[in-house]
């Protein structure tokens, strides 16, 4: 069993596993064109250019490559949703990575920017996209720098721009970066931001970006990790890709495991078969819970995902099964809480995040998120009452009416409620403020009850409205 780390790739842990997107991470200079070319770089592009665009599109469809930004939508299917004959079409690369717990896209941009660039070129060629905007999160100075250098190198060497490799195919890739707003990662908000506006999501349906996107034109939005898989698929074929993983979840996946484990890290895992137990306890992965403590709970798919208990450890990292068990895989981020964790306080760190990141467009998110945060703050501070626990659920119901997904628990005699939920908001920021509250209250209610006073012993006026009223 190996678990190798590299000082130049903080957090990344390699092992005896297939490596599709991290194959060059062992080289300190993996971000340079020289290393890229010496390790099979731009071979996928060459292979793609020797085929027709629709053949390349079919190859990607055949690979069943699933989107890695959170929703898990098949990339090849998405590319096919642009309306026939409508041009120009744009590609927008989502490098805004900011979902709590998520760390992989930044690593891919810093360590292998040419792989991402090659992926963008293949996507543009196959789907007939005539300009690519590569949107990187504002706070990622090194990733911006690495991608800028790689773009400059690739332009100079004839891989980007006019008449690429003498093929007649030509596209520009424009580097763009954000300025600090989580919600801009949502694809329609990303487009708004790229148009120079406040990054507020657009209402969809009826119009998805593939039909009406950037400047009102068909636009494909794909995640950095999604696109980074394309060079492998184009160079080696769809079968080489589907030979790894399972039928519903082929290939590999980047997963960040953080929190109370012995070796937190980013792992490229085989998709669909690796279980949460493998990841948390396997010697080649996290090697167990820190200090020999017991596992209390974990968030399986980024801050927006309903929480899991040790009961769910044997589930594989596979979307449908995790959905049926009451959560989602989201952005490939697991956050682990050991037995010492203060559960209400942990939930607050997430609820505060989403309340803070609300763009303010929908009332249930703008107001509800803030209420959830304030009431929870009061409970965590030991100043809440039993009424507050009901209030939390009541406010949550105004964001997500009806049944909320949650995990099963043998100890609590609880059956799972499958994902997803209903919502009264445009995007998932509002519901995400409620998800941690709901999970924590459902699975650890006694920790809340032991902290609050009976309802009549209220010591404070409940919520002071932001406008200064009572």
């Amino acid at each position: 069993m190996t678990a190798e780390t590299y000082p130049w790739a903080p957090g990344f842990v390699a092992g005896d596993r297939p490596r599709i997107v991290t194959s060059r991470f062992g080289h300190e200079d993996s971000h340079t064109l020289e290393r890229y070319l010496a390790t099979g770089g731009y071979e996928g592009l060459r292979a793609a250019l020797s085929k027709s665009p629709s053949e390349v599109h079919d190859q990607v469809r055949g690979s069943t490559l699933l989107g890695r930004g959170g929703a898990g939508f098949p990339a090849g299917v998405k590319w096919g949703l642009t309306p026939e004959g409508v041009f120009p079409r744009y590609l927008v690369v989502n490098g805004d990575e900011s979902e709590p717990g998520t760390y992989k896209d930044r690593l891919l941009m810093e360590r292998d920017p040419h792989q991402l660039i090659e992926g963008c070129l293949i996507a543009c060629y196959a789907a007939g996209l005539s300009r690519c905007f590569l949107y990187i999160r504002g706070e990622m100075a090194l990733a911006q720098e690495r991608v800028a250098s790689a773009l400059n190198e690739a332009y100079a060497a004839g891989y980007i721009g006019r008449d690429i490799l003498g093929s007649g195919f030509g596209v520009d890739i424009v580097l763009h970066w954000g300025a600090g707003a989580y919600v801009v990662g949502e694809e329609t908000a990303l487009i708004e931001s790229l148009e120079g506006n406040r990054g507020m999501p657009r209402l969809k349906p009826p119009f998805f970006p593939a039909a009406i996107g950037l400047y009102g034109k068909p636009t494909i939005v794909n995640n950095v990790e999604t696109l980074s898989n394309l060079p492998f698929i184009a160079a080696n074929g769809a079968e080489a890709y589907t030979a790894i993983g399972t039928e519903t979840s082929p290939g590999t996946r980047m997963v960040a495991v953080s929190g109370h484990v012995r070796r937190p890290g980013v792992y490229e895992i085989v998709n669909g078969t690796t279980t949460f137990r493998d990841l948390l306890y396997g010697e080649e992965f996290c090697g167990g819970i820190r200090d020999g403590n017991d596992l209390k709970a974990f968030v399986p798919g980024g801050g927006s995902a309903p929480w899991f208990l040790p009961d769910q450890l044997d589930l594989p990292f596979e979307g449908r099964q995790v959905g049926a068990a009451g959560s989602m895989l989201g952005s490939g981020a697991i956050m682990v809480m050991d037995s010492t964790t203060d559960i209400p306080a942990a939930a607050l760190t997430l609820t505060r995040f989403y309340a803070h990141e609300s763009c303010g467009k929908c009332v249930p998110c703008r107001e509800g998120g803030t209420w959830l945060m304030r009431v929870l703050e009061r409970v965590v501070a030991g100043e809440g009452t039993t009424d507050d626990l009901d209030l939390l659920l009541e406010v949550g119901q105004s964001i997500c009416p009806g049944d909320m997904p949650h995990a099963s628990s043998e100890a609590l005699g609880l059956d799972a409620t499958p994902f997803p939920y209903k919502m009264t908001t445009i995007c998932f920021v509002g519901p995400s403020a409620y998800v941690p509250v709901h999970s924590a209250l459902t699975l650890f209610r006694s920790e809340f009850e032991s902290r609050v006073a009976p309802s009549r012993a209220r010591t404070r006026i409940p919520v002071v409205a932001a406008g200064g009223g009572q």
């Binding site: 957090g11 665009p53 629709s54 026939e84 004959g85 409508v86 041009f87 120009p88 744009y90 900011s98 709590p100 717990g101 998520t102 760390y103 930044r106 060629y125 007939g128 996209l129 300009r131 504002g138 706070e139 990622m140 090194l142 720098e145 800028a148 250098s149 400059n152 332009y155 100079a156 721009g161 007649g168 030509g170 596209v171 520009d172 763009h176 970066w177 954000g178 300025a179 707003a181 989580y182 120079g196 406040r198 990054g199 507020m200 400047y215 009102g216 960040a256 953080s258 929190g259 937190p264 801050g303 981020a333 964790t341 942990a346 760190t349 997430l350 995040f353 803070h356 990141e357 763009c359």
Partner: protein, 206 residues
């Protein structure tokens, strides 16, 4: 004083030219203004408005949505300590307290000498390296309270000046699109025929 200098003005025009619609350059130009001055003044916003053809109010309207933009002067170093879940689980609260104590300001404040502004930040996409922080968006991983104190004394002593440029500078390498390689902006209203490499018959069959 806070208009673009000659070099940045020509860079601003180059950046605008990359987008089919000039307004798309608004955020990049706000970054450029902040890089030049450390913050964004009214005058900078007026100039950007002229350059991209919108009103100054629209520039402000967009700019104020984004946390990285500062509309009044802040410290030379912006110290962002992450407080989201993974970092909180690994002791981010202690880091923030250590920084507040050492700097003598609360989160959100700037030291009286104008050197350091302290913020409690949200997830920095380095959760496996928790608890972490950024100084002018340069990372420090698995930081201890002592590490924070040490970092602050290094910032005060000026010994990190080479590694960490003043607030406002992000990537130190800029994208440059060589004119002889550029395809051009691809106008949404004018460039409406299929791109040259897409065979028309295949497109029709889709």
């Amino acid at each position: 004083m806070s208009r673009f200098n000659a070099e940045n003005l020509s860079l601003a025009r180059e950046i605008i030219g990359r987008y089919p619609r000039p307004k798309s350059a608004l955020i990049p130009l706000l970054h450029l203004a902040q890089e030049q001055e450390g913050w964004i003044s009214e005058e900078a916003m007026r100039e950007i408005a002229e350059l991209v053809g919108v009103t100054p109010a629209e520039v402000r309207g967009t700019g104020t949505f984004y946390e990285m933009f500062h509309f009044e002067p802040i410290g030379r170093y912006l110290l962002n300590i992450c407080g989201t879940m993974s970092c909180a689980l690994m002791g981010a609260g202690d880091l923030l307290h250590a920084a507040e104590e050492e700097l003598g300001v609360r989160a959100g404040g700037t030291t009286p000498d104008g050197l350091i502004t302290l913020h409690r930040a949200e997830c920095q996409a380095a959760c496996t390296e928790a608890p972490c922080l950024q100084v002018n968006y340069r990372y420090r991983f698995r930081v201890t309270p002592d590490g924070v104190r040490e970092l602050i004394s290094e910032l005060r002593a000026g010994s990190l000046a080479d590694e960490i440029p003043p607030h406002g500078t992000l990537a130190t390498v800029r994208q440059h699109i060589p004119a002889d390689r550029a395809v051009g902006a691809v106008d949404p209203d004018e460039d409406t025929s299929p791109p040259s490499w897409v065979p028309v018959s295949v497109e029709g069959a889709r």
